[in-house]
């Protein structure tokens, strides 16, 4: 068996031809219990993280669209109401104050 270039991380298990009666050191390492357990753990981690990402995505979508429907119009309307109030106060101060000015003097 040619010496395989060592690649970090998980890689596909080497295709095994007829059972070698004379296992090399590399095949011994790759078929040991620790490595196979490590591979299994990595698979599980990938599966769980994919699931987590998907459910976070779903939750974010639901929360985002619900916020958009329930609260964005509310914020817009409250802002307009505040602007309207400020305009009214301004108008009142522009039109309301002058008649009462002179009598005080």
């Amino acid at each position: 068996m040619a010496a395989q270039p060592k690649r970090g991380g998980v890689h596909l298990p080497a295709r095994r031809s007829a059972s070698n009666s004379d296992p090399s050191i590399l095949t011994k390492i790759t078929s040991s219990a620790i490595v196979s357990r490590g591979k299994q753990a990595a698979c599980d981690a990938a599966f769980v993280s994919k699931k987590l990402l998907r459910s976070t995505g779903k939750a974010a979508w639901i929360a985002g669209t619900t916020f958009l429907i329930l609260f964005v119009p509310l914020i817009i309307e409250m802002d307009r109401e505040q602007q309207f109030n400020e305009l009214e106060i301004q108008q009142a101060s522009l039109l309301g104050a002058p008649p009462t000015g002179p009598p005080h003097k």
């Binding site: 619900t66 429907i69 329930l70 509310l74 309307e77 307009r80 109401e81 309207f84």
Partner: protein
């Protein structure tokens, strides 16, 4: 000390008279209770805040007053309508119709009629015979056989109670009675019998209202339990919540919503335990011109409905 006593003696009688006055207010006069609201409007505040008329598509309403009492209305609707289907999938069919209506509104008599291009005719009559007795009728005629129905109600309003008797087609009879028990609390009962389906039922309801809140509950022998609570947080904002439980079909729904009544608009939003959120905005663009936006998102059924409309007059 001598100087301190006179202000004390003048202060105490004023306070005593004030507490005596509030005590007189608190001591309720059970002979002069206010008249309760009609039975069908028991949960009116919660219904108005939590169940706005959301729609999907375009809606245009034009009301033209010809007279002080008489007005005509034209209404166009274009959009998908849902068809009840057996499967879980909702089937929507695009429909469009035009509705012509005439209203006659008098202090004692109200007549409303509507004709639609899909063949339906609606009529509503409300006639106040005397101060206490009033007759209401409504009818709907359709092209489809066995889908037309009509109903007549006779309402009698007493000093602190109201009673109602109703008759509908298909041998539907109902009676309800609501009584004010304290200035804030009123209790009601109703009975109905549906001949066509051979069903009869009994129901009880209670409503407690103060200046700031309204709490209402209704139980019926058809298995429905409905509780609602509306709190008026300020004069512009009110929050409402609603709980409905059917003990026959074990169906539970709870919803929470808000109702903002601002000067230029009215915004109602609600979220449900079925994963459904709705929002309804009525914005006053000009005098007599209202712009309506309606949104309903059902996350569990993945059904999204958005509508917009204009109301003139």
């Amino acid at each position: 000390m001598a100087g301190l006593v006179p202000p004390g003696t003048t202060a105490i009688p004023a306070e005593a008279s004030k507490t005596a006055h509030t005590k007189a207010e608190e001591k309720t006069d059970y002979m002069n209770l206010p008249c309760p609201i009609p039975f069908e409007e028991l949960q009116r505040e919660a219904l108005m805040s939590l169940k706005p008329e959301t729609f999907e598509g375009l809606r245009f309403d034009f009301t033209k007053g010809l007279n002080q009492k008489f007005s005509l209305s034209h209404s166009v609707f274009m959009g998908p309508t849902e068809i009840p289907s057996q499967s879980a999938e909702t089937i929507k069919i695009p429909t469009a119709h035009y509705e012509f209506g005439a209203n006659f509104i008098d202090p004692n008599l109200m007549l409303i009629g509507r004709v639609l291009t899909d063949g339906r005719v609606n009529a509503r009559v409300k006639w106040d015979l005397t101060d206490n007795l009033s007759v209401k009728a409504n009818a709907q005629l359709t092209n489809e056989p066995h889908m037309s129905h009509g109903m007549v109600n006779f309402d009698y309003k007493g000093k602190d109670y109201r009673s109602q008797f109703q008759m509908g087609n298909g041998a539907l009879f109902g009676a309800s009675y609501i009584q004010s028990v304290t200035p804030h609390l009123s209790l009601a009962g109703e009975v109905f019998w549906a001949g066509q389906h051979r069903k009869s039922g009994l129901g009880y309801a209670a409503r407690y209202e103060t200046d700031k809140m309204v709490a209402a509950g209704q139980v019926a022998s058809t298995g429905m339990v409905a509780l609602s609570y509306v709190q008026k947080v300020s004069e512009k904002v009110s929050l409402a919540s609603d709980f409905m439980y059917n003990y026959m079909t074990k169906d539970v729904t709870a919803s929470v919503g808000y109702d903002y009544i601002l000067r230029q608009c009215r915004l109602r939003g609600k979220i449900d335990s079925n994963g459904c959120t709705t929002a309804y905005l009525e914005e006053r663009l000009n005098m007599g011109l209202n712009f309506i936006l309606s949104a309903e998102i059902d996350h569990s059924k993945k059904d999204y409905k958005f509508g917009f409309g204009l109301t003139v007059g």
